[in-house]
Symmetry: C2
DNA sequence: ACCTGAACACCGTTCAAGT
DNA sequence: ACCTGAACACCGTTCAAGT
């Protein structure tokens, strides 16, 4: 058996000493613990039991708040979509009014988020519940992140600088490119020859501009 | 303990009855077993022990041929890259001489492969060895699949119908789009509103043509 | 050489119990 | 209500042993 020190409830968030149990909000504590494990130890270390240990509860306490491991992963993924949507939106707001510039900045923000939180991104887009539908709150969080791109496309169409078409569909083309770039970079599938200095930003921006301008040579 | 029937070596591939053990090539048998498990039971069922059971050997016999589970997954991934490269190449060969048509057909073949072999694709691009480098033979197999797109780009540049630039880099833009589309479709991240009839082919082809022509409106 | 059974330290999940 | 320890059926991996 491992020799962890016995855990006391004195690790921060709670002021009320009259509480009979460790946490006022074990659910939130487990999500935080899962995020810390992802960042510090990697995806393979993210187990229900490890999250419980880090939160200072017994290994089956999580089942009071999550039906199973997938539900915990879904909650962690949902946090990730919220953070991603916020990062992309913030970048867009700082990018000025030109929709094409907004699209490039938002795309780079997406890839940057992925490279900064690789393990979190894999949980967000990983194989949770391979065949089944995603939980509605998770699907909604994904929609919010995607929605930023959709808004940019729509405003660009209004301004006459982005091609016509269903905004959702045009935004999907933009989304797929940045999503694919992010995952290929995470998976080390991109040849080092394309990454001089190891900094992916110039390459990503070049791909984004090619998408905007098109791969076909104009004659 | 489970009550499996004792396994006999009489399940096919071997003619020579004088062999003292079950397999002439346990390594290949384990890869086949892994592929069957992926196709029939899903990624979470793909364990070293399950592959061994299916191949009819004890649960640690695989360690004679694979250093660890990652090595087995890498071998299965390598098979996948070979199959993907072949599918894309075959489609390209059938697409005629026009590079832009080749690019669209190759892109659709990529997505079609992903949708036909979802679990296999996740192993190919999954989080095997999160931080570490991929085994060289696996990296080479990935290069072969990517190489088909690179050749198309190069011939398109020669024909003057694809923009100038480092062929690897232009091909990366094309690859990222189809890779992103494939994974978003697998993850059910694409709104059903964009998939009338449930058939993804029209949507994928539309995205591919948008990439070729560009998202910017030509003025 | 190649395969085996026993063993270890883990998992996810369930259950009967404690406060 | 919320948490606990014991238990079950699994894993990945190692080891001493068999042929």
């Amino acid at each position: 058996m491992t020799s962890d020190q016995p855990n006391t409830p004195s690790d921060g968030a709670s002021d009320e000493a009259s509480r009979p149990y460790h946490h006022g909000d074990l659910r939130a504590a487990l999500i935080r613990a899962g995020l810390a494990i992802l960042a510090e130890e990697g995806a393979q270390a993210l187990t229900v039991r490890a999250a419980a240990r880090r939160a200072g509860v017994s290994h089956n306490a999580p089942y009071r708040h999550f039906a199973d491991k997938e539900a915990l992963l879904a909650a962690i993924a949902e946090e990730g979509f919220d953070a991603l949507a916020e990062a992309v939106e913030r970048t867009r707001a700082a990018a000025g009014a030109a929709p094409q510039a907004q699209l490039e900045e938002a795309g780079w923000a997406y890839v940057r988020f992925a490279l900064s939180h690789p393990n979190h991104l894999r949980v967000m887009f990983g194989s949770l519940i391979p065949g089944a539908e995603r939980p509605p709150s998770l699907a909604a969080a994904g929609e919010r992140a995607f929605g930023v791109l959709e808004e940019i496309v729509q405003s660009g169409q209004t301004a006459g600088v982005i091609i016509a078409g269903e905004p959702r569909q045009v935004a999907l083309t933009a989304w797929a490119l940045v999503h694919g770039l992010a995952l290929l970079l995470l998976d080390r599938q991109v040849s080092a020859a394309l990454l001089p200095s190891g900094n992916p930003e110039p390459l990503v921006r070049l791909c984004l501009r090619q998408q905007t301008a098109g791969l076909a040579r104009r004659g």
